[in-house]
């Protein structure tokens, strides 16, 4: 009797596992996925702080409805972690196959957290028909997220890179010539000293602000290689000491003397629009040009990437383990990787988010879709984004955020 129930108990997880697998669509059999997706409604949890992004997602919804009979609902959230918490709450409640979230716009820490807690469906990305267009063997950044291999648990969607922008009118010297803006963190400090209150960065733990810390650390540290392994493997205090010295020197010359920081990159952009700041940065290279078109920034706005290069990464979409519409979510992920969707997204009039496809290796007709706008003066000069630094291991982001908060909060 006892032996029997013990065996049953041992079998039970295996049984549950196997039924779970049987229900999940197999991405390798794409026709079956398309069949299953027909008529599904996919709830896509995506950051909605930007009208252009929202409009683009609307456009995608129209297309996938037309082509694949998949209804796409954009669930508008202010912070990706809201979706992560949601899936977690469902797992906690034992909801393993009827989750609310079908697709998440995600990367970095959020991805690491979900993967570590087994909250993701997959691997699926490598099996998507359009995935090959990214040429992962030549472009390893589409299969790596903050040094972590994605292992097919998320599918690339777009690219971001720190891009500085400035008000060229404010940089005009006495002779009327526009001065060269700071090209590395040391020049930035010197410039801030000479122009107090005209620069700042978003307060930690904002994503853009945290990226600024990593960027500064990479430039200041002579132990840069340590950043690409988990933080526990190195002497955090020793590696980051130059960063804190630097920030201690920089803060008194920042906006509000470093006693207050904007909440986010967009808030920093508003301060630029008010003329409170003369120099700022964003993680979306096309943002300054788009903001000029939307009346948010003056027409004298110019963008650049400093000579040393800046951090860049790829952002992704992922499917939660308990999504009831995994087939539909895969169809949407695949459409997002199509040349049509990627080229539309890169169009400055639509969104201006750069493609993850390997454009040079596309077919002639598809390649023609991707002509980069160069006439806009607020846009980056051609070739500027070639100076890309890879993202450190995600554990550094958390460690830097904690250390920054311990050091600068509540003083």
């Amino acid at each position: 009797m006892h032996a029997f129930s013990a065996r049953l108990a041992a079998l039970l997880p295996a049984l549950l596992m196997s039924t779970g697998l049987a229900a999940a669509p197999d991405p390798a059999d794409w026709d079956a996925v398309l069949d299953e997706a027909r008529g599904q409604t996919v709830y896509w949890y995506a950051w909605a702080g930007d009208q252009r992004t929202n409009d683009y997602i609307d456009w995608v919804a129209g297309r996938v409805d037309e082509r694949f009979d998949v209804t796409l609902e954009h669930v508008k959230i202010g912070n990706t972690a809201e979706a992560v918490s949601r899936v977690l709450a469902e797992k906690q409640a034992g909801n393993d196959d009827a989750g609310n979230v079908d697709l998440i716009w995600i990367n970095g820490e959020n991805f690491a957290a979900m993967k570590e807690n087994d909250l993701l469906f997959g691997p699926f990305a490598h099996a998507l028909p359009n995935f090959a267009l990214t040429r992962p063997e030549q472009n390893p950044e589409v299969v790596t997220d903050f040094t972590l291999p994605t292992e097919g648990y998320e599918s690339p969607w777009g690219r971001a890179q720190i891009t500085y922008y400035y008000d060229s009118d404010a940089f005009r010297g006495d002779s009327g010539e526009v001065e060269t803006p700071p090209q590395d963190v040391d020049e930035l400090l010197a410039w801030a000293r000479a122009n107090p209150g005209r620069f700042t960065y978003p307060r930690i733990p904002d994503f853009t602000g945290s990226t600024f810390l990593k960027q500064a650390l990479i430039e200041l540290s002579d132990q840069g290689e340590a950043l690409y392994a988990p933080v526990e493997e190195s002497d955090f205090a020793a590696v980051t000491a130059p960063l804190w010295d630097y920030l201690d020197a920089l803060h008194p010359h920042l906006w509000r003397s470093g006693r207050q920081f904007p909440a986010s990159g967009p808030e920093m952009r508003s301060l630029m629009g008010d003329g409170a700041l003369s120099l700022a940065f964003t993680f979306t290279p096309s943002e300054p040009a788009a903001a000029v078109a939307d009346y948010e920034l003056p027409e004298s706005t110019r963008s650049y990437v400093p000579k040393s290069g800046t951090l860049g990464n790829v952002h992704f979409v992922a499917i939660p383990f308990n999504s009831p519409h995994q087939a539909g979510a895969m169809v949407v992920s695949n459409f997002l990787l199509s040349p049509e969707a990627q080229a539309t997204k890169q169009d400055l009039d639509v969104w201006g988010d750069r493609t993850v496809l390997d454009v040079a290796r596309l077919e002639e007709a598809d390649r023609a879709l991707f002509t980069l706008e160069t006439s806009n003066p607020a846009m980056l000069p051609a070739g500027a984004l070639e100076r890309t630094l890879p993202e450190p291991h995600p554990s550094w982001m958390t460690a830097l955020q904690d250390a920054w908060q311990a050091r600068y909060i509540g003083q």
């Binding site: 909605a48 959230i77 977690l88 469902e90 609310n100 008010d274 003329g275 939307d294």
Partner: protein, 559 residues
């Protein structure tokens, strides 16, 4: 059926809160099996104590709750003392409902647009008066002392306390009390403060407690106007709850319980202050001063309320300008170009959220209206006033939202409910019902019972007396209560977002998620829509009785 109404109300209000609190309490002590928290431990509390700036967060939440309430109450009492019966009084009474209906977030945006270093006031004064060519590097909005947060709260709490006071005052017969005191030689404002205020305070004590609880735990206003390094406790909790590092959920739960403690401590401190002020008042009243300070009271009472209402409306005007602004460089007083682009862009996406907002608001308000009427009618028929139960009615207003809503989501998940409009409507009912009940109960209880008795003697049934006599006579206050309910529902952010899993978009969730993008023109459009929507309810509430009873002046309700 009618007899079940009070029990139903209590269950609807109390059960979700207790369940939500329980699900916050367990993780606060380390128990959350989905994250590997299988044992009870104090680790979350140790982590909470080690948070940088936690002491300051708590202190600001505690202090801003008390100070904002004290100022709001003082403004309302001084105004009532100084202006009752004046032309200003009639004007303010007409404005109080629209002011109350402006959602907190919209009012906070408005205030920020007004007083920020790059805000409307600085633009109007620059560069001629100030010499500023670019926004001054001043810490005005989000100041570390929470002063702008307190200002934002006062703007919203003054109309609430005023409405509650105006509802309670008729019971006290203030005119006769003041006349009596004046015959003894007291100047009017001093007379009011000495003979009416001490009797009024006990009647508005629960609303005051609700204000303390709200002000010490508010999330949206604190995010817009509050300090940032560190933020208030409630904002910190929200950040921890949505941290990608899922272990922070333990910390967040402990924070939620701490928030409960902070709010309770603020209430306790207020209770102590009440005693102190009562003593001082007694001394002041007994001393018999009849004139000293009258002018000061008289001017101050009018000035402060004018400032509070003026700032609220100027803030909304600022939102309106931003919603049509082209590029608007500091220090230009007005944008160089106006454009309808922002409205044109928002228009296509307005429909869905508007429909959801209306559906949820109407659903929860009508439900609340039915429940409140049933309970009040039951009270009337059984002749028992439910004074003890009134405390329970205030429970959703006194327990901080952030302390139980996250837990409630987990409970709902476990019950297997889907995030639908229905579930959100139920969530809103928690906050709509108390307001509808409170707004309606005074008028209901005050209605002369002889009207129904007369109807009964004419041979109609109790039900017919209700439908044909009481309800029509109460149409004006009922519609006002429903309009308040609509306004409360329209302004809800956290319950909508959490219970709806973010799937249901209302005008408020849309406004807050777009706020993350920091585009003030887009924020202006959505905040303006958000602010105007509840007005529709009030326009109907005031207009409909006049239309229906155009030949019965006495039934048209208060002006």
């Amino acid at each position: 059926m009618l007899r079940l109404a009070p029990a139903l109300i209590v269950t609807l209000l109390v059960a979700p809160i207790l369940a939500g609190l329980a699900m916050a309490l367990l993780p606060a002590f380390g128990y959350l099996p989905a994250l590997g928290g299988d044992d009870i431990s104090l680790a979350p509390w140790r982590a909470l104590a080690a948070q940088p700036g936690i002491g300051r967060s708590v202190a600001i939440s505690f202090a801003s709750g008390l100070i904002a309430t004290a100022i709001s109450l003082a403004v309302v009492l001084l105004y009532l003392a100084a202006a009752t019966g004046s032309r200003l009084d009639r004007w303010i009474r007409r404005l109080v409902s629209p002011l109350l209906s402006i959602p907190h977030a919209a009012a906070a945006f408005g205030l920020a647009f007004l007083i920020a270093p790059s805000g409307l006031i600085a633009r109007l004064a620059s560069p001629t008066l100030t010499g500023w060519e670019r926004p001054p590097d001043l810490l005005i909005v989000q100041d570390p002392w929470g002063l702008s947060l307190i200002a934002g709260l006062v703007i919203k709490e003054v109309p609430f306390l005023l409405l509650m006071s105006l509802a309670a005052l008729p019971q006290l017969d203030p005119e006769r009390r003041v006349a009596m005191a004046r015959s003894l030689g007291y100047r009017p404002a001093i007379a009011w403060l000495k003979v009416v205020a001490p009797a009024l305070y006990p009647l508005i004590r629960l609303p005051v407690f609700a204000v303390i609880a709200y002000a010490s735990s508010v999330v949206d206003v604190a995010m817009i106007l509050g300090p940032t390094l560190p933020p208030t406790l409630a904002v910190s909790i929200l950040t921890w709850f949505s941290d990608p590092d899922l272990d922070q959920r333990f910390l967040a739960s402990a924070g939620a319980i701490l928030q409960l403690g902070v709010t309770a401590a603020a209430l306790l401190a207020w209770w102590g202050l009440e005693r102190l002020v009562a003593r001082l008042m007694n001394v002041w009243i007994a001393r018999g001063g009849r004139r000293r300070g009258e002018t000061c009271l008289h001017v101050g009472g009018k000035l402060w309320i004018l400032l509070a209402t003026g700032v609220a409306f100027a803030g909304i005007a600022g939102l309106a300008i931003y919603s049509v602004a082209g590029f608007w460089r500091f220090p230009d007083a007005l944008p160089r170009s106006m454009t309808l682009d922002h409205w044109a862009q928002a228009l296509p996406s307005l429909g869905g959220p508007l429909a959801s907002t209306a559906l949820i608001a109407l659903g929860s308000t009508l439900l609340a209206g039915v429940l409140a009427l049933a309970a009040l009618e039951n009270e009337q028929r059984t002749g028992r006033a439910a004074s003890k139960a009134l405390w329970l009615l205030y429970l959703p207003l006194i327990v901080p939202q952030i302390a139980f809503l996250f837990g409630l989501v987990v409970v709902m998940e476990q019950l297997g409910t889907r995030p639908t409009h229905g579930l959100i409507t139920f969530g809103h009912l928690l906050f709509v019902l108390p307001y509808v009940f409170l707004s309606l109960s005074e008028a209901y209880r005050r209605l002369d019972p002889r009207w129904s008795q007369l109807a009964l003697t004419l041979g109609v049934s109790r039900n017919a007396a209700f439908w044909r006599v009481r309800l029509p006579m109460l149409l004006a206050p009922l519609l006002t209560a429903l309009a308040v309910g609509l306004a409360v529902s329209i302004g809800q952010y956290l319950p909508t977002q959490l219970l709806g899993a973010g799937r249901v978009t209302t005008v408020t969730t849309e406004a807050v998620s777009l706020a993350a993008g920091g585009n003030r023109r887009v924020i202006g459009v959505w905040a303006l829509v958000q602010a105007c929507l509840p007005l529709v309810g009030f326009v109907i509430a005031i207009g409909l009785p006049r239309l229906l009873w155009s030949n019965r002046r006495g039934m048209q309700g208060a002006p």
